[in-house]
């Protein structure tokens, strides 16, 4: 059944050439390109098919054209997501992982927003719109964090027990990342504030350093449980509860993102004392980043909750 192809027809509509290797084709570069192409796929798709595709690429000696086709096919894989994949717990874990990463980024952006606007007491005189937006943002962020934390706690405890039982110290460290990383950031921020802060707070440069460190540590805090989930592959009611809580937390973060949009737009348009009023490019970049993070958070949260809710 594996006889070599005799009559390849590259002119057929809807089919593409695999771009077989030419003599001297560079195997390491092909492997690297294939890895890049596979990285474009949704995590759930990669979990399910990436190994098989790598083997196929090795077997067929596929070249750059096939790898380009593989990369191109990543787009519909995102559009028609992993609801197609059969392994439901893997699907839930995948959505949960993506959602957690995006949620962390959005939370980080929200905290930067709070620090740069709300805590600086920018308000629109005579109009409560910005104040309301701040209030909605505060409540949505707080309830979202509580929902994510409480809903994820049983899963976290389950994985911690499993990691301890299996004596996997690396996984335990990963699971402790959501506690260790924020604690490290808080300690660092307090130290910077005491050492380099004045009556008006720290300088812009130090604020940028602290904010950048916050994003790095937020990524670490989210990556830890994601890696633990990849290693332990949990399933069952705790996973389902975490996914459903993730859906609620994502929806609340979407509300917070809308509040950010309203408040920031109001500040840029109507508050001359706000720096972004004169330089709207930075708020624009910030809003684009927040919109991307919110979209990924909501899409992954919804898909994860739906996968946990449905029987299939």
């Amino acid at each position: 059944m594996n006889a070599p192809a005799q009559r390849p027809n590259h002119d057929q509509p809807g089919h593409d050439q695999p771009g077989h290797d030419q003599p001297g084709h560079d195997q390491p570069s092909r492997t690297y390109l294939a890895r890049l192409a596979l990285a474009l796929y949704p995590p759930s798709w990669r979990d399910r098919y990436a190994d098989e595709v790598r083997v196929l690429l090795d077997d067929s000696g596929a070249g750059p054209a096939a790898i380009a086709s593989l990369a191109w096919r990543a787009l519909p894989a995102w559009m028609g997501p992993s609801a197609q994949l059969g392994d439901r717990p893997a699907r839930i874990r995948s959505h949960l992982s993506t959602g957690l990463m995006a949620w962390s980024m959005l939370t980080g952006l929200g905290l930067v927003f709070a620090q740069l606007t709300e805590l600086q007491s920018y308000r629109l005189a005579g109009h409560p719109l910005i104040g309301w937006s701040y209030a909605v943002f505060d409540v949505a962020l707080l309830v979202s964090a509580l929902t994510a934390g409480l809903g994820g706690l049983p899963l976290w405890l389950l994985m911690l027990r499993q990691a301890r039982r299996d004596m996997r110290p690396g996984v335990i460290v990963c699971l402790l990342a959501p506690i260790l990383a924020p604690a490290a950031w808080l300690a660092g921020a307090i130290m910077v504030s005491r050492l380099f802060g004045g009556p008006g707070g720290v300088s812009v440069a130090w604020f940028a350093v602290v904010a950048a460190a916050g994003f790095v540590l937020a990524t670490a805090a989210a990556t830890g449980p994601v890696l633990a989930m990849r290693g332990l592959r949990p399933r069952g009611p705790a996973l389902h509860l975490a996914a459903k809580a993730g859906g609620v937390a994502a929806a609340l973060m979407a509300v917070a993102a809308v509040a950010i949009l309203v408040a920031l737009t109001g500040l840029v348009l109507w508050v001359p004392g706000f720096p972004g009023h004169h330089h709207p490019a930075w708020p624009g970049v910030f809003l684009v980043l927040a919109a991307v993070a919110a979209t990924v958070t909501v899409v992954s949260g919804t898909r994860g909750a739906r996968a946990a809710h449905t029987q299939r």
């Binding site: 059944m1 005799q6 190994d51 059969g86």
Partner: protein
């Protein structure tokens, strides 16, 4: 009708037809399709099709052998393939009949 006529070359149909003979892994499918039907499926196309067919329950994965996971056609997949083959057969028969009534367009 045009849509149906075009469907003979659909990658999902080619994969189902290939798996109708016996379970195969990805590379074996591409080889079989290329050899018997003259169509090359790229890895991207093949695995997009496999994901779709698997989701619809038309094929199912078997235990992986040395990282190569074979797939086999399910009863539902065989039914879909059979229905489609029947449709294509009717179209082919119709095309032959009608072409034979036009001496200038007759084919061998």
């Amino acid at each position: 009708m045009t849509e149906k006529l075009d469907r003979w070359a659909d990658p999902p149909l080619l994969v189902l037809a290939s798996l109708a003979a016996e379970p195969k892994h990805g590379y074996a499918i591409t080889q079989d399709v290329a050899e018997t039907m003259g169509v090359r499926l790229s890895p991207g196309t093949l695995y997009a099709v496999i994901a779709r067919l698997e989701a619809r329950g038309l094929i199912e994965p078997l235990e992986a052998e040395d990282r190569r996971r074979p797939y086999r056609i399910t009863a539902a997949g065989a039914q879909v393939l059979s229905d489609q083959a029947e449709r294509m057969s009717r179209v082919a028969s119709l095309a032959r009949d009608r072409l034979s009534t036009h001496p200038g367009l007759a084919f061998s």
